[in-house]
Amino acid sequence: MDIRGHIRNEIKSNLSKIPAGCFMMGSELSKDEMPIYEIYLDPFFIMRYLVTNRQYAAFLNENNVVNNFEGSYKFINAFNRHTRIKFNGSTYIVDSGYENHPVISVNWHGADEFAKWLNCRLPTEAEWEKAARGGIDEKLYWWGNTPPKPYSGNYGEIIGDTTPIGQFSANNFGLYDIEGNVSEWCFDWYDKDYYKKSPMNNPKGPEAGSEKVFRGGNWSYSSNMARVAKRNKFWFMIGKTKLGFRVVFDN
């Protein structure tokens, strides 16, 4: 069975098209989100759902990834017991009940390699924000300005763990888990002053950096992380139990 083809078809059958056009990126709530400016993006197709443990384990197994070596790991944190994919000596298996939870503990390289395996890529920060806003500019969250209500999403330790993908409401572009569950790796290097010098068309972030951007809320962080304009950064070499990803296709 062509596992790669199967996973690719599965993901491609659950994409949202984000049409070409402009949107207002940024906010006035944090220095690195300023200035608010109009960005043009080409059309792209983004996963409605986060990449799951099942899909990621399939990637590791199909590519015979040697993840653990010499006290370190290549793509997914082997040392944290909360990582839901474990290696049993010959195969990567998912903890029972977590198959459709979003994959966590994957470093940026691990997310990027998964995307390359499927001939796609991680979203740029601008793409993520446009998709997350769901076509509504100048709001704090994808639904408006009201802070999230308890149990309207998986954030702020209300549940205390990841939840199966797609359990809460989708935004206007059909994307799930934007406000919570796990945050998401983006393509861009992080630069706190990037908005002051970014191109207006299809920005992809600075050429180099020491941290990659991640966006979106997660099961552990406060409601402030659920804001669609909130920018975050993290060292690309390690994963977090609150951090996963979704991928983007150009066509």
């Binding site: 944290n80 330790e157 706190k192 993290f234 060292w235």
Partner: protein, 274 residues
Amino acid sequence: MQKISFMVLGHPRSGTNFLSAILRSHPDVSFITEPFSMHNGFIRLNFFKYWGEESYIQDIFHKDMRDSQASVRFFAEFKKWLMSGNEEVRVFKETTFLMKLKWLKQYLPELNIIYIQRDPKGVVISFKKSGLFLRWNYQEIFYRLSEESKIEHGLSQYAQIIEETSLNNWIDVLTTLYYIATNEARNNLELFRHTNVVYEHLATNTLYAFAEIFNFLGLSISAEVEKEIAERCSETKGGIFSTFRNSRETCFRYKYLLTQEENNLIETKMKRWT
């Protein structure tokens, strides 16, 4: 602006996660939680081990890492991350370096430390409620430490307290380990520019305490930080590692949850050896 870097250091269950969550919320702070103890096998094998300055070897960072090139690269890349970036402050939190400060001074000589300490009774009750004493296998840790103290010069001063500890009494074991780890940390903090934070003060005078901590970082409390403090301290929710706590209610809970005997054991031991 000169690059400065910081580490949050404290015994497990001393409020290090809460402190980290608030620091992380500042837009000018880049933060990593436990990059070594949660992401590196070599450190995990040596979690409660004592490392003196003689165990540091330039280029491979530790004398026992010669055959672990991936770990060597990890240590090198981490140091690069810590020293890079523009104007933001880079901070990480670790609980594994309490007995490794002399080694750490060789590895990260310019580091500044925020040291948080908590009443040992609060630490013990946190371990009791969370079941972490068993999960983290503290009896085995104590046994290995007691063996190591017989050969490691830096631990020889603890031989007597170790000998007087009852291996079958988990409170006795935990209090001894707490004493040794925090005593080592306190004795070697002077190697670094540092500030001391008391968890109970952080819990009951939160805004004021964090203003002092951010001042140590060269920053001021931002609107994001104030919002984060308000949200995290308003109610207690989440699991044992959650940092959403009504800390005023929880930080003195040990007074009701420890028996008189347990209370006396901890107090007597700490008073005797401190």
